[in-house]
């Protein structure tokens, strides 16, 4: 099976001395929705940032659809769409301009980008906000605009770093539907999320990372099979979904 992302023995030590990644190896199969889960500070965003060229790695290698991120960075990046964790568009720009400019950075002419941006804004329920200044949008609208921006160049590999953080239930579910529609169109999605039911609902493959190391990696069935009912009740007496139980068991100190 073709892989969208192949990471081999990836390491990252920040200048502060923090060892964020300790030899991570991971393969994301093409055409699937892959969930990368882990507690805060586990290394999820560091992996994404290295793959997208926003952070330099200390060691190891990574490739996107066979294009090495060091040897052929431009070809690798052309295939990726990134929706980062933080809202990071120019707050003084309008949604339509944000999308059209982003398309421009990928070499897409305005004559192609404008209708494509209008369609994306409509698909994501932002068409009536296309002329409004970015910082005046609500939190949910900003998240949807981030997804639209990540999709403007029609990437083969979409990376979503906690795309539904702070989004209400109704909107989150509509975003799930949208993401599932994208995978049906052949787009590979790497998703990080703290909503484990979201991962359980959407992902075929799951990797769990803790303290810079992959502690579980496999299909959703394989991961759920790790569930040990004898360990399922926390001190609070609360029991979550099966994936949540596995997650807690694998990431607790």
């Amino acid at each position: 099976m073709e892989s969208a992302l192949t990471i081999t023995n990836l390491t990252k030590r920040y200048d502060t001395g923090t060892e964020a990644l300790k030899g991570v190896s991971l393969t994301v199969p093409a055409g699937e929705l892959f969930a990368l889960l882990g507690p805060n500070g586990a290394g999820k965003t560091t992996i994404i940032s290295i793959v997208t060229g926003l952070v330099t790695k200390s060691g190891g290698s990574a490739s996107i659809f066979g294009f090495d991120i060091d040897a052929e960075p431009e070809r690798a990046r052309a295939l990726i769409g990134l929706c980062g964790q933080e809202v990071n568009f120019d707050p003084f720009e309008k949604p339509l301009d944000i999308l059209v400019n982003q398309a421009g950075y990928y070499g897409i002419p305005r004559s192609v980008a404008i209708p494509r941006a209008q369609r994306l804004l409509k698909d994501l329920g932002l068409d009536d906000k296309s002329g409004q200044i970015g910082f005046r949008l609500s939190g949910g609208m900003k998240r949807r605009l981030m997804i639209a921006r990540a999709l403007i160049h029609e990437p083969k590999f979409l990376i979503l770093d906690e795309p539904t953080a702070g989004v209400d239930v109704e909107l989150r579910r509509s975003m799930w539907d949208y993401l599932q529609g994208l995978t049906k169109e052949g787009v590979t999605i790497l998703l990080t999320t703290h909503y484990l039911e979201e991962a359980e609902q959407l992902a075929k493959h799951v990797a769990i990372i803790n303290k810079g190391e992959i502690v579980a990696n496999g299909t959703m069935e394989e991961i759920l099979a790790l569930h040990d009912p004898s360990l399922s009740t926390g001190t609070s007496g609360y029991s979550g979904g099966k994936l949540e139980e596995v997650f807690v068991q694998l990431t607790k100190d």
Partner: protein, 258 residues
């Protein structure tokens, strides 16, 4: 990235900057015009009439090229330094470009061209303002144009170095205040270096702004403290050095990536 796509990316970066310059024209274009009116009024008309002539030309005609250059330099520099730093530090929307396949030389070309456009635009506005105070003759129009673009290019490149490398807002304000302003004022905007003692004449020769102002002044008045070919050679060397530095920063991610 094929050349045609590189051009679209370059045009996108440039267009975004130019749109911003016009959108906030009262912050980007107007201040230099107002300042230059004050300079022309005080140094040109009021003090200039008492100073008389310098190197055989009325003082106001002598300072016009220097004051135009002052506006060009500060605008080209601050435009690139502040917009790049803001997009890196505050909104973090520089990531939009960094995650794209846009190669480093296109990023440099795009940002620097924004600075050149603003620098040249402000320079021309100040030149128009100067016409209300004096009618400068233009001995070599192409030299004027060349040095207008060269000065914008050099200081846009320098601004980009500053914008990339600055780690906090002080890093952006310190350089213009404590480096750029002294260089400009000591570069011969208001005087000829021939009027300085020999030691300070030699010290002035390490100031790159001296070559810009003198090259520009040569275009207007037909004379310069420094031979025009020396001006051009020094500035070309400086451009190549700044280009290499910017390319290295963006290629390696120094100052941009953790």
């Amino acid at each position: 990235m094929p050349p045609q796509k590189q051009f679209i990316s370059f045009y996108t970066i440039l267009r975004k900057g130019v749109v911003r310059t016009f959108r906030i024209w009262s912050q980007t274009l107007l201040p230099s015009v107002v300042t230059s009116v004050l300079y022309f009024a005080v140094f040109g008309s009021i003090l200039g009439s008492r100073i008389g002539s310098l190197n055989g030309v009325p003082y106001i005609l002598f300072v016009v090229p220097g004051l135009v250059m002052l506006s060009v330099i500060t605008n080209a520099y601050t435009d690139v330094a502040t917009t790049f730093f803001q997009s890196k530090f505050f909104s973090r929307n520089i990531d939009e470009i960094l995650v794209s396949p846009t190669p480093p030389h296109v990023i440099i070309a795009g940002y620097v061209s924004r600075g050149i456009v603003r620098g040249v635009m402000v320079g021309l506005l100040v030149l128009v303002v100067s016409l209300f105070f004096a009618l400068p003759s233009v001995a070599h129009p192409l030299i004027v144009l060349l040095f207008l673009v060269l000065s914008s290019l050099i200081f846009a490149l320098a601004g980009l170095v500053n914008g990339i490398y600055a780690t906090n807002f002080d890093g952006i304000t310190i350089v213009p205040t404590f480096v750029l302003t002294p260089l400009v004022y000591l570069g011969g905007v208001f005087y000829s270096i021939n009027s300085l003692p020999p030691f300070w004449q030699q010290v002035s020769l390490v100031n790159p702004v001296l070559y810009l102002i003198n090259g520009f002044r040569y275009g207007f008045l037909g004379f310069s403290d420094v031979p025009i070919i020396t001006c051009f050679t020094v500035l070309t060397g400086l451009i190549l050095a700044l280009l290499a530095l910017n390319w290295y920063f963006i290629r390696t991610g120094l100052g941009l990536k953790q």
